[in-house]
C-alpha cells in the first residue's frame, strides 16, 4: 500500500504524518487525561495531578451506590447478551437463506433501532413502561437493550454466515444429521468467531448505554452510566475519573478480545 502513494512528495508526507499524530492524540485524549487524574490527591480536577493517591478508587469501592449501579449494569449487559445473541443468530441465519421481498422487509425492520433516534425511543418507552409497571425494572431495561443491540449483532453474525458455505450443512443433513445437530456441529464452529465478537460488542454497548437507562432505569435499579451522568451534572470530582479509568480498561479488554478473534478468523 505504501508504495502506491509514491506520487506524494516527501514534504507533503511529513506534513501528513504530523497531522496524523495530532489527530490521533486528539482522539486518544480521554485516555491520556482521565487516567492520571484518577490517581490525583486533590478533589479539584487538576492536571497534571500534584501528587498521587488511590483515595478516589478507595471511595469508589467503598460506596454502596456505585457498587450497586455497577452490579446492575453488569447484570443488564449479561442478560442482554443472553437474549440478543440467540435472537440475532436465529435472525441472521434465517435472513441468510431468504431471498424474497419479505426477507428484505424483515431485515430492514430489524435495523430500525439504528434509524430511529434513541431519545425518541427512550421517551416512548418511559411512557409505555410507566403504564406496564416496567419502569425502573431490570426486565424493562434488558428488553430495551436487546432491541438496541440487535442490529449490531445481526450485522456481525450475518457477515459470518455469508462467508460460510451453506452446502456443508446440507451435506451433513443428507448424511443423516437433523437440522439442529447439523447447525451445531457443522455451521456453528465456523461462525463462532463472528458470534463471539458480537457477544463482546453487545456486552459493551449495553454496559455503556446512557439515554435509555436515563429514562427507564432508576432507584435501586439505576445503571452505572445513569449514576455517572447524574454525578457529572452535579459535581465532577475525580471519583468519576476512577470509574472512567475502569471503563477505559473495559474498552481495552474488548478491543484486545476483538483483535484476538480477528487473528483467529484469518
Amino acid at each position: 500500500m505504501s508504495r502506491d502513494t509514491e506520487y506524494i512528495s516527501r514534504w507533503h508526507r511529513a506534513w501528513l504524518y504530523v497531522l496524523l499524530s495530532a489527530l490521533l492524540a486528539f482522539l486518544a485524549a480521554p485516555i491520556f487525561v482521565v487516567i492520571p487524574v484518577s490517581f490525583s490527591n486533590t478533589s479539584t480536577l487538576q492536571f497534571p495531578p500534584q501528587a498521587l493517591s488511590l483515595q478516589w478508587y478507595d471511595r469508589l469501592f467503598s460506596s454502596a451506590r456505585w457498587a450497586s449501579s455497577a452490579y446492575n449494569s453488569l447484570l443488564a449487559a449479561v442478560l442482554t447478551v443472553c437474549f440478543t445473541i440467540p435472537f440475532g443468530t436465529m435472525a441472521a441465519y434465517g435472513l441468510n437463506s431468504i431471498r424474497s421481498r419479505a426477507g428484505k422487509l424483515i431485515s430492514a425492520s430489524l435495523m430500525l433501532p439504528l434509524v430511529v433516534p434513541l431519545i425518541l425511543i427512550a421517551i416512548g418507552l418511559y411512557f409505555l413502561y410507566a403504564r406496564l409497571g416496567l419502569i425502573n425494572t431490570m426486565t424493562g431495561l434488558v428488553a430495551a437493550h436487546t432491541m438496541y443491540t440487535l442490529p449490531l449483532a445481526i450485522t456481525l453474525i450475518a457477515a459470518g454466515f455469508k462467508r460460510f458455505d451453506q452446502n456443508q450443512e446440507m451435506v451433513a443433513r443428507s448424511l443423516g444429521a437433523n437440522r439442529f445437530k447439523a447447525f451445531l456441529t457443522v455451521t456453528l464452529p465456523q461462525v463462532k468467531f463472528s458470534i463471539l465478537s458480537a457477544c463482546f460488542l453487545t456486552f459493551i454497548a449495553s454496559f455503556d448505554e446512557v439515554v435509555i437507562a436515563l429514562f427507564v432505569s432508576g432507584g435501586p435499579n439505576a445503571t452505572l452510566p445513569r449514576q455517572m451522568f447524574n454525578q457529572l451534572r452535579n459535581s465532577i470530582d475525580p471519583t468519576i475519573a476512577a470509574i472512567s479509568t475502569l471503563l477505559i480498561a473495559l474498552a481495552l479488554m474488548v478491543f484486545a478480545a476483538m483483535q484476538l478473534l480477528k487473528s483467529h478468523e484469518a
Partner: protein
C-alpha cells in the same frame, strides 16, 4: 429436504410437488427464525413510537388535531432550538469531514504494522463510554484544566478562562465522539481504491494535486458521504454531550424533548417534537440514498 427425496419415488409430478412443498416449508422455517427479533423490535420500538404518533395527533379531549405540530413552528423559541440543532449538526459534520479525511488518507499510506497501531487510537475511543469521552473535556478545558494551567504558567492569562459549558465546547466534544464513525467508512473506501490509478495519473504528467483532485477524491466521495450522513443523523438526535458540555446554554432538540417530558409531562408537544426529529432523520437518510446513492450504516468494526 433429504427425507422427501428418498421417500417419494413414483411419478415425477408427485416428486416435483413434494419438493415444492418442502421448499415452501423451508422458507417458512427460515422466516420463523426471525420472529423473536421482530417481536422485540415490535414490542420495544414500534409500540412506543406508535403510541407517540397517536399522542402527537390528539388534544387533551382526545380529538384529532395538528395543533402540536403547528406550535413547533409558530413558537419562536422552539423554532430556534430546531434551527440550532441543524446548525450544530452541520458544523459537527463539516469539521468531522475535514479532520477525518486527512486522517483516513494518512492511514492508507502506512505500513500494515503501523496502521494497526494507529487503528488502536481510532477504535478504542469508539468502544469507550461516551460519558468518559465527554468527562475528559471537562478535565482538559476546566478552570484548573490543562489548557488553563499552561496559559497561566506561560503568563498569557491571569485568571483562568471559562472554556467549558458553552457552544464551542459542545461542538468540540461532539466532533470528538463522532470522528471515529467518519474515519472508518472513509478508510474502507480509500483502501479499496486501486493505488495504481493515482500513480498512472502522475506518470501521465498530472501534478500530485491534480492526481488527487481528479482521480483520488472522486473515488472516495461515496465513503465521505456515507460517513457524513451517519454523523449528521446521529448529531440531530444527540443528547449526552450537549447536556453535559453545554451547561444548560446549548438547547438542542433532544434536550428540548427531554425537558418537555420531565418538567411539564406534556406528551402531545413532546411526541410531535420527537416525530419531527424522526422525520428529519429519515429524510436525511433517504436524501443521501437518492441523491448520492449512499447507504449510511453504523460501522461494524
Amino acid at each position: 429436504m433429504s427425507a422427501v427425496a428418498i421417500s417419494s419415488g413414483g411419478n415425477e409430478g408427485e416428486l416435483a410437488f413434494a419438493l415444492a412443498k418442502d421448499a415452501r416449508r423451508e422458507r417458512w422455517v427460515m422466516l420463523a427464525l426471525t420472529i423473536p427479533g421482530i417481536f422485540v423490535v415490535a414490542g420495544v420500538l414500534l409500540s412506543p413510537v406508535g403510541w407517540l404518533i397517536w399522542q402527537s395527533l390528539v388534544d387533551e379531549g382526545g380529538h384529532l388535531t395538528l395543533h402540536h405540530y403547528l406550535t413547533l413552528f409558530t413558537e419562536p423559541k422552539r423554532l430556534s432550538y430546531l434551527l440550532n440543532t441543524f446548525l450544530l449538526s452541520a458544523e459537527v459534520t463539516t469539521i468531522c469531514s475535514l479532520l477525518a479525511y486527512p486522517l483516513a488518507f494518512a492511514l492508507t499510506t502506512l505500513s500494515e504494522r503501523l496502521r494497526k497501531l494507529c487503528m488502536f487510537f481510532v477504535v478504542v475511543p469508539l468502544l469507550t463510554s461516551v460519558l468518559v469521552r465527554t468527562y475528559a473535556w471537562l478535565i482538559i478545558l476546566g478552570r484548573r484544566g490543562i489548557v488553563n494551567n499552561v496559559l497561566t504558567n506561560l503568563g498569557v492569562i491571569n485568571e483562568p478562562l471559562d472554556l467549558v459549558y458553552n457552544y464551542f465546547c459542545t461542538v468540540l466534544g461532539m466532533v470528538h465522539v463522532m470522528m471515529p464513525m467518519m474515519v472508518l467508512p472513509l478508510f474502507a473506501a480509500m483502501k479499496s481504491i486501486d493505488g495504481d490509478l493515482a500513480r498512472a495519473a502522475s506518470s501521465l504528467g498530472a501534478t500530485p494535486s491534480a492526481a488527487f483532485r481528479d482521480v483520488f477524491l472522486p473515488l472516495t466521495l461515496p465513503g465521505l458521504f456515507a460517513g457524513a450522513t451517519l454523523v449528521f443523523v446521529l448529531s440531530l438526535g444527540y443528547y449526552v454531550t450537549p447536556s453535559i458540555l453545554g451547561g444548560g446554554k446549548v438547547i438542542v432538540w433532544a434536550i428540548f424533548l427531554e425537558q418537555t417530558v420531565s418538567f411539564n409531562t406534556q406528551w402531545g408537544p413532546a411526541a410531535a417534537a420527537g416525530l419531527l426529529l424522526l422525520a428529519a432523520t429519515v429524510s436525511a437518510l433517504i436524501l443521501a440514498r437518492v441523491v448520492v446513492g449512499v447507504k449510511a450504516h453504523q460501522p461494524t468494526l
